[in-house]
Symmetry: C2
Subunit: 242 residues, 2 copies
Amino acid sequence: MPYELHYWPTIQGRGEFVRLALEAAGADYVDVARGCAGEGRGVAAMMHFMESSEVQRPPFAPPFLVDGKVIVGQTAAILLYLGPRLGLVGKSEAQRLWTHQLQLTVADAVAEAHDTHHPIASSLYYEDQKPEAARRAREFRQVRIPKYLAWFESVLQRNPKGNAHLVGARLSYADLSLFQLVAGLLYAFPKACRRALNKTPGVDALHGSVAQNKRVAAYLASERRIAFNEDGIFRRYPELDA
Amino acid sequence: MPYELHYWPTIQGRGEFVRLALEAAGADYVDVARGCAGEGRGVAAMMHFMESSEVQRPPFAPPFLVDGKVIVGQTAAILLYLGPRLGLVGKSEAQRLWTHQLQLTVADAVAEAHDTHHPIASSLYYEDQKPEAARRAREFRQVRIPKYLAWFESVLQRNPKGNAHLVGARLSYADLSLFQLVAGLLYAFPKACRRALNKTPGVDALHGSVAQNKRVAAYLASERRIAFNEDGIFRRYPELDA
């Protein structure tokens, strides 16, 4: 039975971290909310899990994964669940914990990237919080992007198995997620992200090598990859980059 | 060998979620940064792990846990590691994953609580972002606190083992963390949090019952519990409550 990924159908968002893992592993999955209502899919099928009082373990928000009777929400928890099943994490507890720690740090960076355009309220438009966004984005560009990427660079450089991967000598979901973080930052903050990447060559190289992974490359070239856009987490508002 | 908890010594902050788990389990631990430099403790001992290039798996930020050769950062990852060791999570994979998902949702709420007083930049003072804080706090009070607490209420009410605990019939680290979230919200937003709790009686009751847990009560009454203050995540600025 295929995995069911449930996420908003028109943005990459946090769902993309799960999608990349499923794609990189060649897993059989259905992107439920992007399907047709006539086939029991679509946004309504997703909302059922969030709104029905019969769901014993309701997700707080998309993305969530349905695997038979298992329902898992929270991006990092989904990857914690999928990692071993998809062969995208090492076998030891230490490796799994470290990979998860990296994922949680990617998640923190993603939340901060979101708040550059929504520093006041997700329920308001960007246009309703532009001055605040300008201030927050400046801090994000000048302090936070460099700090996050420098930390991932140190993780790569200290990996005893070499700097081609964050953990051990093989692709893990943390590599995929760092790729996605960098891709998003390059979309939203092309100038600031490029400046930071120039100081973090290992991160830059990892972003490039993941994009060339055979399955990932095929996915990125497919219609399954939603383009970055200004409804998602990573938005290109030129006034927020510099 | 006792667990080593590393966290900023003058605030509860995110370290408190780990401290509560260690205390509720009666675990042997050292609160390293609160110790004396003369004994090899203090903030310098903590910073060593963050700054030394010899640490193979450096934490991005405190809190982090040191257990022999294991170093784990990210609050939720620390609890993922400690949960089974301290008897604060169920035995099945499904229970552990669900407990972790709850913890990650507490973490999201905590990050939002922090950003009510620092919506622009952690590197600036609250006084440098007061108008933005007022806007963000209004959204947090009116939309986010009710939404988070209502979700935890539904989790409690749908627990097939009863609504005394979030997962199963025993105390888990998710219960402790929800207690701490509510305690922090009651400190920072006494009016708004009380209004939300009046609609979420299960969450209100859980907050009360965890506080009466024998070990937790002893801890809360001890000097080991740092008082809430205006350097931490939950800050009482009356102008942000209403």
